[in-house]
Subunit: 329 residues, 2 copies
Amino acid sequence: MNFSRDENDVSAASHYPFLKTRIHMSILVVGSVAYDGIETPFGKRDRILGGSATYLSLTASYFTPEVNLVGVVGNDFAEADLQTLRNRGVNLDGLTVDASGKTFFWAGRYHFDLNSRDTLDTQLNVFEHFKPVIPDNLRKCDFVCLGNIAPALQSMVLDQVDNPKLVICDTMNFWIEGAKDDLLQTLKRVDVLIINDSEARELSNESNLVKAAVAIQDMGPRTLIIKKGEHGALLFTENEIFSAPAFPVLDIFDPTGAGDTFMGGFVGWLAASGDLSAENMRRAVIYGSVMASYCVERFGPERLIDLDQESLRIRYDAFKELSSIPAHD
Amino acid sequence: MNFSRDENDVSAASHYPFLKTRIHMSILVVGSVAYDGIETPFGKRDRILGGSATYLSLTASYFTPEVNLVGVVGNDFAEADLQTLRNRGVNLDGLTVDASGKTFFWAGRYHFDLNSRDTLDTQLNVFEHFKPVIPDNLRKCDFVCLGNIAPALQSMVLDQVDNPKLVICDTMNFWIEGAKDDLLQTLKRVDVLIINDSEARELSNESNLVKAAVAIQDMGPRTLIIKKGEHGALLFTENEIFSAPAFPVLDIFDPTGAGDTFMGGFVGWLAASGDLSAENMRRAVIYGSVMASYCVERFGPERLIDLDQESLRIRYDAFKELSSIPAHD
């Protein structure tokens, strides 16, 4: 089930109610595809589909038909998991199967409050030598979505694409500490950076998040999103700040992938609407938050497989109601 | 400059644009009046007017003329500081001058990021034996605002008042740990509890703030506000949750009194509007946040003395803009 760029017609729109036919954007997603072992206080999965590109693609697929995944898996990757992605309309032309080894595997155990976790196992496997190669037919994708991989690989992706309309990037403390120069080179070419509050502080050497944002915007990304977990997110565009609430989730089952899911909802909404205004970025941040709030309700990406558009709209409106400030009087 | 309850006429309204003439409520404020020694990374004051009742009263005075302070000061309390309160229209009939000793003194030094501080000195002085006595003419105040004092003293205040329309209460970890039974007795008589996130977690033994709120509402207060510092505040009313943003302050000069100031703005707005609906509580939370965001711009209560109504409205609108989620499309 691949979508070409000419298929954005009425039948596509009926599958994708968010789509504004003929203006939507294609998305290139680059990141990890993995198996995760997850333990939370509520249960355990020994091996479940994971990886940043997986969460990004599954989530974006609720908004737009043209989601193209670039990554690598090993000789143990199950056909059923490929089918999970295909069933959501994700184009796997850019997914390499490297028969020389196994798929990237990570295992972790969350602590009781779910705010911290211990890594129990990391096996890079075929991901260790991953060099993203963008197939010719994907080099003209409108949006490039760089999951959390080495900044040098992110730059390698940008070297291969043809003048994208928007480059969206994730990173983490590991790269800020270990590959800062590479990261600064990548950031010069990034339009939207999405990181969490501790990463923003570390990248900028500023404890005040507003000052941190100004410093990071000076590094390249004219738009910055700072995720604050249970405290929501801040969106910094060129002339304004938007403070998005977190959804008051009573029972977080498994936080794995919530950050990637946020990014997938953000880029998915922008692609479906084809509108990069500051006002529409606010909607995108809320759709990212909506998707992340669903993601944590079950293990891994399980909840991202069976959502429906009506649920997304209902929760969007719940976010709006949650933070609505009445007019003065 | 005292206001009697019959003076809520047009001339009062011209001083108090927030006032809906003839429906506003009188406020009884009980708490500490103190001198503080404050060191922040930006400067130092050896001795500046402080105390919860001071911040509460000064702040509420921007909204309504009927603010009545009950507290105690010592033989060293300066006439100029009394005048500061009187100039803002605060009625000092309930302020006792105890000539046997000095005024409560606290000194602290804030760390570089202003999120933590060391207490350098605490001299309870006349506050050590403070037993609040509510003058007869104040026993019928509409709203009772209990600053952060021992829960047994808060109950003592409630024993003396005549069927108030609203009881608003602050407390702190010190009392949750050291006077839990007294606190639980007080909470049964409280309508609105205002505490910070760590206090909410400790009081309820729940790490999830939504679960914490449910547990605390079961203790008595049907309305709960959880302050989250740089992350804003959550308002829990009977049927809904409101997530208020924090104002993105670039330079916090001195956080002393910000929590009391929040409470003063909250109760002040409710008193001026005379409307206890969930929708209007949202406005009150934002006015609390507005006042706190101004308070931290200077040392101690200095900024609370020279504000004007126009500034309050402008910042209210800035909060509204900051967190406004656009309609779906």
